[in-house]
């Protein structure tokens, strides 16, 4: 019951394609923002949304340790389910946990072949088989295109939806279509690009690429207090 309600209430349904999965298999999505605006919070909401549907999520972080990521999930989940009965919520949380796997790497230790090796290992041993992959802390530098192309192949082979958190910087100029510098050169690989733009006390959620259009879609915000996605403030 709670699961259904949580899925239906979630304004995430306004993001991206109107299919069930926001992102088709093998496609890339990106959440862009400056440091501290709420990239990870939004990614975690995307993950929880997927987890609630009974799917499996692999969260890869190149910055933070497992405990910290785990804490993010706990916090966001707590905010999302504030109005429900604590006992049922605990049970739901326990049900979700086995569907999530956190993997952390040191930035220099991360490579697509290594990820593929780990992933195959997990699948072969029947330990974990993700449908969605989140990558936080990926370095969008000169060599990014090669790695991203490899990742794309990996995503297609394993039927994965892949979301990236991309850190932008104030001093970097955006491209002509408003796509910020870090992923400007590789934006063709991404199907959905979302930017978080703080303005006063509001954080706007702007879709830069991949919006299905339509004027009935409400404007989205991140609530700065809970970091939850809202369609009105």
């Amino acid at each position: 019951m709670i699961k259904k309600e949580l899925i239906l209430q979630n304004p995430l349904r306004f993001i991206g394609n109107e299919t069930e999965d926001i992102l088709p298999e093998g496609d890339f999505g990106a959440v862009l923002a400056r440091a501290g605006v709420g990239k990870t919070a939004l990614l975690v909401q995307l993950a929880l949304h997927t987890l609630l549907k009974g799917k499996y999520v692999l969260h890869i972080s190149l910055d933070d340790p497992v405990n910290k990521i785990s804490l993010w999930y706990k916090e966001v989940f707590r905010h999302l389910t504030k109005s429900y009965d604590a006992k049922e919520i605990n049970k739901l949380w326990e049900d979700l946990l086995p569907h999530r796997f956190i993997m952390t790497f040191k930035v220099e230790g991360f490579s697509v072949p290594k990820l593929e090796e780990r992933l195959t290992d997990l699948k072969e041993q029947n330990i974990f088989s993700p449908q969605m992959v989140l990558i936080d802390g990926f370095h969008f530098n000169e060599t990014a295109r090669a790695s991203l192309s490899d990742l794309k192949r990996l995503a297609k082979n394993h039927w994965l939806h892949v979301w990236f958190a991309v850190k932008t910087h104030r001093h970097e100029k955006s491209g002509p279509d408003g796509i910020p510098a870090p992923i400007l050169d590789v934006s063709d690989l991404f199907d959905i690009i979302i930017q978080l733009q703080p303005e006063g006390k509001k954080i706007h959620v702007i879709t830069l690429k991949g919006e299905p259009g339509g004027s009935d879609r409400p404007a989205l915000f991140l609530d700065p207090a809970t970091m939850l996605l809202k369609d009105n403030i």
Binding site: V66, I102, M103
Partner: protein
């Protein structure tokens, strides 16, 4: 030629010396940590010999049957390992060095963690042949957790296959230390003669029967090139920590020894650099220069920040200073049952403690008068007057437990959190004969004082003695110690997991207890409901109005319910998370009694309990496995097979940390399986995470097992 001077003071004269020379910057509290068999105990023995604390050298597995001085427990002597951390004291170059012998074995975690708390720096001993072994990795992780600065000693350079520089490379690769050689060996394997000191650029040789004759000479020509090259590396590394040194190097001014030492010291204290020394403790080579560096490079107590928790203020951390005028704070980190009674090792963090002072044990608020203050040297002791801040000493005849904090009256600080987790596993032990029975009680009494996570009780029904603890190995070690130290021959039953029962929904009860068959009758009726609660074990609420149950019998009702939760009706596990409310009942003017209402409450509990959807909960452990990356797949497979949920994997260069939640019941024998499937290179730690409902299939199995056990009885 130059002789290193040592100071030896006769014990008789020692009484007042400690108060006189308590310049805190001349104190070192150090640990010697290492892999088993890398020569830790031998090194300690040599240190004590060179500092003239002992006058003869014994080997660890000695032919003379005496054994090395630090391993005072029989079991340690036999196995050649160190279990309990004896603290001992010695002097070198006017510095007082307290050596806390830390156990190098993962199974004795409480001991290790407590000793790491009290030491300020450590010597990491590595084998020149074996290099960085799995145990060194664990020990290093623990030191990292407690931010203990360390210097490394590459031991056994006299063995064939010794290569200290390979060990340095391993320190860099496997432990990610910024390891820098401060010495190079003169000759290796059987030809080991001494070391070249890269700071003073002198060769150090060791002569005499026990290497006590240290001679400083020029560097042999054939080593000069290598020495210059290694020194440059050292200067590069050291200059990172000193502008003065960098400037001197750049401007080609004279670089003094002191400049290099203070730069290296700075790097060492912040754990950003690990100076490496080398030699062979067994062959008495390189020990004295290592001692010199302990005084020069490792921190004194005031270099290290220590925190206590303020009990009056929600356990918020308070920083302690080593000033003698401040109120006294000390931690009892080790208890030892000696021939004269209980000895309590303490480390003073603030203020000072003198004979005759009154202090308070924070755990129970008891005031204690200190009769004797002593200083220990393995199992011999000497009386002293005062223990000032930063020092380690021992108290005599004080009743306390390990981990207790002592303070001046009026203070309410604690060095360790008061939280002690409940045991998760139990084991029945049966003594073989009467003597063993007596010895067993002595042992149990002592162990439960030493280790708050180790508990013991006698089962009312089976009359068996049950021991409880935090894991299979934890209990095994204590059973082993009972055999060795107390010659208590005991047989053990199968380990049992501490399951619990609880209810899942609200249910009502209405029970009449009636007995009128001859003699005095019994009558009592108890009605109400029970419901699940979280965060507490048991709540009893009385909502009786109009005296339906007379007030004097309410307590009996509560007692009856409390009796029922000790052994749950479902599978005889303790019941937790339950609230019982009584709101109706009846009594009889003659036949009602306390007994009758207790029985009625027990009946009512049973009646309501089975309607309330009782379930079994099992302890789920937080398991953290550290493994070389190549085995991470295997490790995850092992955890997965054990009903484990893998939370995540953390890649840390050559090592990978896998975190999982695994039911305790599935963890039996895990250490053996883990060792065999990772060539002994993986380590794991385990602590209680939470209690969770047992899956139905497993609950059925448990029920079946309980049934057969009952029949067996």
């Amino acid at each position: 030629m130059q002789l290193l001077c040592t100071v030896f003071i006769h014990p008789e004269k020692q009484k007042n010396t400690i108060t006189m020379k308590n310049a805190i910057n001349k104190v070192r509290n150090i640990g010697i940590s290492a892999h088993i068999d890398s020569g830790k105990t031998t090194l300690t023995e040599r240190i004590l010999f060179f500092t003239k604390r002992i006058h003869a050298i014994h080997d660890v597995k000695g032919k003379d049957g005496v054994g090395a001085t630090m391993d005072s427990m029989e079991l340690e002597k036999e196995r050649g390992i160190t279990i309990a951390s004896a603290a001992t004291y010695c002097e070198w170059l006017g510095h007082e060095i307290n050596i806390i012998d830390t156990p190098g074995h993962i199974d004795f975690t409480i001991e290790v963690e407590r000793s790491l708390r009290v030491l300020d720096g450590a010597i990491l001993v590595l084998c020149a042949v074996g290099g960085v072994q799995s145990q060194s990795i664990t020990v290093d992780q623990q030191m990292k957790r407690y931010k203990v600065p360390c210097i490394a000693f590459v031991n056994k350079c006299d063995r064939s296959g010794a290569n200290p520089f390979r060990v340095i490379d391993q320190l860099k690769e496997k432990l990610v230390h910024n390891a820098v050689a401060l010495q190079i060996p003169i000759g290796l394997e059987a030809d080991l003669e001494g070391v070249v000191d890269l700071i003073s650029m002198k060769a150090v040789y060791f002569f005499g029967a026990n290497g006590e004759d240290v001679r400083i000479e020029d560097i042999p020509q054939d080593l000069l090139g290598e020495a210059i090259q290694r020194r440059e590396k050292l200067m590069d590394a050291a200059s990172m920590f000193s502008d003065e040194l960098t400037e001197a190097i750049l401007e080609e001014q004279e670089v003094t020894e002191q400049m290099i030492i203070s730069a290296v010291r700075r790097g060492t204290l912040t754990r950003q650099m690990t100076p490496v020394f080398m030699g062979s403790a067994y062959k008495n080579k390189g020990v004295q220069p290592l001692l010199d560096s302990v005084t020069k490079l490792l921190p004194c107590p005031s270099d290290v920040e220590n925190e206590a928790l303020d009990m009056d203020n929600d356990e918020t951390p308070v920083t302690l200073t080593s000033e003698l005028e401040k109120p006294f704070v000390a931690l009892a980190f080790k208890l030892e049952e000696g021939q004269y009674g209980q000895l309590t090792y303490i480390r003073v963090y603030q203020g000072s403690l003198s004979k005759g002072d009154a202090i308070v044990n924070v755990r129970n608020g008891k005031k204690i008068k200190v009769g004797r203050v002593v200083r220990m040297h393995a199992d011999q002791m000497e009386d002293i007057e005062t223990i000032p801040a930063g020092y380690i000493g021992a108290l005599f005849g004080i009743d306390c437990a390990s981990g207790d904090t002592f303070v001046s009256p009026g203070l309410n600080l604690t060095m360790t959190s008061m939280f002690v987790p409940d045991p998760v596993i139990s084991l029945a032990i049966v003594p073989k004969d009467n003597t063993s029975q007596i010895n067993m009680s002595k042992a149990l009494n002592r162990f439960s004082k030493e280790d708050p996570t180790f508990r013991t009780y006698v089962d009312d029904e089976t009359k068996e003695t049950i021991i409880e603890g935090m894991g299979e190995l934890h209990l095994e070690v204590y059973v082993e110690r009972m055999h060795r130290e107390y010659t208590a021959n005991v047989t053990t039953g199968k380990p049992r997991v501490a399951y619990r029962e609880t209810i899942t929904r609200k249910a009502e009860f209405d029970y009449i207890h009636k007995k009128q068959t001859g003699g005095a009758g019994q009558y009592g009726r108890v009605a109400g409901y029970m419901e699940p609660v979280t965060g507490t074990e048991f709540i009893f609420e009385n909502k009786i109005v109009g005296g339906k149950i007379p007030t004097q019998f309410i307590a009996s009702c509560e007692k009856g319910f409390r009796q029922s939760i000790i052994k749950g009706p479902k599978m005889e596990f303790p019941v937790t998370g339950i609230k019982v409310v009584i709101n109706d009942g009846a009594s009889h003017s003659i036949d009602s009694s306390e007994m009758a209402f207790m029985a009625a409450a027990r009946g009512a509990f049973r009646e309501g309990y089975f309607r309330a959807g009782p379930v079994i909960h099992e302890p789920i452990m937080k398991v953290v496995v550290e493994t070389p990356s190549e085995f991470q797949g295997v490790v995850m497979g092992l955890l997965n097979q054990r009903r484990g949920i893998i939370v995540g994997s953390q890649d840390e260069g050559p090592l990978c940390v896998v975190e999982a939640r695994v039911p305790l019941a599935e963890m039996f024998g895990f250490s053996t399986v883990l060792r065999s499937s990772t060539q002994g290179k993986a380590q794991f730690t385990m602590e209680l995470g939470s209690y969770k409902q047992v899956p139905e299939s497993i609950a059925d199995e448990l029920a079946k097992k309980a049934e057969t056990e009952k029949k067996g009885k």
